[in-house]
Each structure stands twice: as structure tokens, then as C-alpha cells.
């Protein structure tokens, strides 16, 4: 199967590969997996006090499309508010990367990772609010 140029670009020069401190209160971590292809994706966001995503990092073990989808997701998330980032749809990712139908699930994985990371960050803030003031 031929990959699109954009997929190859992200695959060969993945943006924002790496890890953020999972235990930090300002970091949200999303972990998702796709049993169909055994792909595992970790997507992390660093959120400012104003609720802006300052940094995003990913690590994906999977095919080129999965790597490109998560790489693109981190690019798109940076600078966005949590609510804005939450509106990123897998169809947008698939369209941007020109993913063939058999690789659509890779973009679904990326969308789920985005949501999981945002959820993780938000649940951390809730816990924070609930904790007694130091």
C-alpha cells in the first residue's frame, strides 16, 4: 500500500516525539491501544493555568499511519484550548493525511488518545480542587 506524502513526512520526521512528566498536575496522559494491529499510543499534553495546551508529546508503536496520525494530532493540539482540542475529529486527521479506508482506525486511535489525555488532565484538576488546601 502506498502511503501519502504527508504520512511519509510525519513518519520520517515525527513531530513532538517524547515524554512529559506523567505525575505532574499540569500534564494529561492518554494511553490507547488498537488490538487489531497491536498498536499502542501514548499522547501527553502540558496545559497552562489558562487552559492552553503549551506542549504535546507522543510515543506510538505501530504502523506509519498510526505514527503520522499521532504526530499530526500533537501539532494540531499545541496552542489550542482544551475545548478546541477536544473538537479534533478522526475524520480531519484522516483527510489531512489522505489515509486509505483500511487505515482509518489509526486516526480513530489518535482521536481517542486526544480525548483520553484531556480527560486525564481534567480529572487531575478535579482531584486537585477536592484536595484540602495545604
Amino acid at each position: 500500500m502506498a502511503y501519502s506524502e504527508k504520512v511519509i513526512d510525519h513518519y520520517e520526521n515525527p513531530r513532538n516525539v517524547g515524554k512529559l512528566d506523567q505525575d505532574s498536575q499540569s500534564v494529561g496522559t492518554g494511553m490507547v491501544g488498537a488490538p487489531a494491529c497491536g498498536d499502542v499510543m501514548r499522547l501527553q499534553i502540558q496545559v497552562s493555568d489558562e487552559g492552553i495546551i503549551e506542549d504535546a508529546r507522543f510515543k506510538t508503536y505501530g504502523c506509519g499511519s498510526a505514527i503520522a496520525s499521532s504526530s499530526l494530532a500533537t501539532e494540531w493540539m499545541k496552542g489550542k484550548t482544551l475545548d478546541e482540542a477536544a473538537t479534533i475529529k478522526n475524520t480531519d486527521i484522516a483527510e489531512e493525511l489522505a489515509l486509505p479506508p483500511v487505515k482509518i482506525h489509526c486516526s480513530v486511535l489518535a482521536e481517542d488518545a486526544i480525548k483520553a489525555a484531556i480527560d486525564d488532565y481534567r480529572s487531575k484538576q478535579k482531584h486537585d480542587d477536592a484536595a484540602p488546601a495545604a
Binding site: M31, G33, P35, A36, V40, R42, Y61
Partner: protein, 218 residues
């Protein structure tokens, strides 16, 4: 009629559950049977086809011997000189038998099939949100696999990881069996989750095998 491989003697009793015999067929060697005499009942489940109990564990020896006997009976080569319909039937039967064998041979397709028999189609495409602990473990395993070549003794490291993955697959299989035998809806949910985890591990095992042969080639 074309003759089959030498020594492929036919035992009617052995396959009484699988084949339908023409009442007038007096021969006791499979080589003399036409495809119409050897009807594979496509409605039977794969376990029944091989006359095996429906179970997580499969007697591999029996599976192989039943498979060989069935393949001998329906192999398209035997019907090369017959009409088009007979040839088509034999191809259909042979591919059914092959698929059944492939499904039962390895644990993962076998347990997926068991769930299917229990009315559960495991959807591997969706369900991306899995238990976080498992995914972290997967991530760590993948990282270890990615680093193998830079370790001081890659061969040993491949073996260590392969053993670990095999042990995990075995453990999941045993857990699956417990849930599957009990068979309540909740238990089948658990069984389904285990199948997904197994799928990850099997992928990893395949990758490790590839890596191992690469290391041997170097």
C-alpha cells in the same frame, strides 16, 4: 476416477460424524469416492468438523491427523478429472477444512472462534480504550523490544522477552478458559477483554520472532 495418494485408506466409522456416504458405495478406500460421496457438512462448527470437543484446549495430534484425513478426502487434486461442479465443490470443501484447521490450531484464533460460537463477535477495530495498566505494560514491552539491538547481549534479550510474552499469552489463555467455561454475560465480557490483550501479545511475539531471525542473520 483419478486415484489419491497411496495408502490413504478410508475408515468410514472414523468420519461417521463428518461425511455422508452414498449408501450404494461399497468401497472402503477413499480413492474410489467421488466428491458427491464425501459431503462436508458446512453447517457444523469447526470442532465438530474435526470431531473434537468444543474447548479452549485442543488435542493437537488429533487435530492434525483429522485434518490430514479430511484434506486427503476433499483435496482438489483428486477431482481434477471430474466435472466442473465436482471440482468447485472440492475446492470449497478444501478451503473450509483449511480455514477450520487454521482457526483451531493457534490459541488466539481459537478463542476468538469460541467467543463467536457463544454469540460474541470480537471487534478489534474499535475498543481503543483499554485498561491503562495493561497499556503501560505494553508500552514498556515495546520500548524494551525497540532497545534490544543496543543491549549488550541482544540474542539473550530477545529470548527473555519472547519467554515473557509466551508466558503472558499462556496466562491469558488460562484465564480465558475460566471465564469462558462459566459463560455468564459478565464473564464473556472479561473473556473478550482477554482476547484483545492476547492479540497484542501475539503481535509482539511475531515481532520478536522476526527480530530473532534478523539477529541470527547478522
Amino acid at each position: 476416477m483419478p486415484s489419491g495418494p497411496a495408502g490413504s485408506h478410508w475408515s468410514g466409522l472414523f468420519f461417521s460424524g463428518t461425511f455422508f456416504f452414498d449408501a450404494e458405495c461399497s468401497s472402503d478406500t477413499i480413492c474410489d469416492l467421488g466428491i458427491d460421496d464425501v459431503v462436508v457438512d458446512l453447517s457444523k462448527n469447526y470442532f465438530e468438523l474435526f470431531e473434537l470437543p468444543v474447548s479452549c484446549q485442543v488435542d493437537q495430534q488429533r487435530l492434525s491427523s483429522q485434518y490430514r484425513a479430511l484434506q486427503r478426502a476433499v483435496h482438489p487434486d483428486r477431482f481434477a478429472g471430474d466435472g466442473e461442479r465436482q471440482q468447485r465443490l472440492s475446492i470449497q470443501y478444501a478451503s473450509h477444512v483449511n480455514e477450520a484447521f487454521d482457526t483451531l490450531k493457534q490459541p488466539l484464533p481459537r478463542v476468538i472462534y469460541l467467543l463467536k460460537l457463544a454469540g460474541r463477535d470480537v471487534d478489534m477495530e474499535c475498543n481503543t480504550i483499554m485498561d491503562a495498566g495493561f497499556l503501560m505494560e505494553q508500552m514498556a514491552l515495546r520500548e524494551a523490544v525497540a532497545d534490544i539491538k543496543s543491549t549488550s547481549n541482544p540474542e539473550q534479550e530477545v529470548e527473555r522477552l519472547a519467554d515473557q510474552v509466551d508466558a503472558d499469552i499462556h496466562r491469558y489463555l488460562q484465564q480465558f478458559e475460566g471465564f469462558w467455561v462459566s459463560g455468564t454475560e459478565q464473564d464473556l465480557d472479561q473473556a473478550e477483554t482477554l482476547v484483545r490483550k492476547m492479540q497484542f501479545m501475539v503481535k509482539l511475539a511475531t515481532e520478536l520472532e522476526q527480530l530473532e531471525s534478523e539477529l541470527l542473520d547478522d
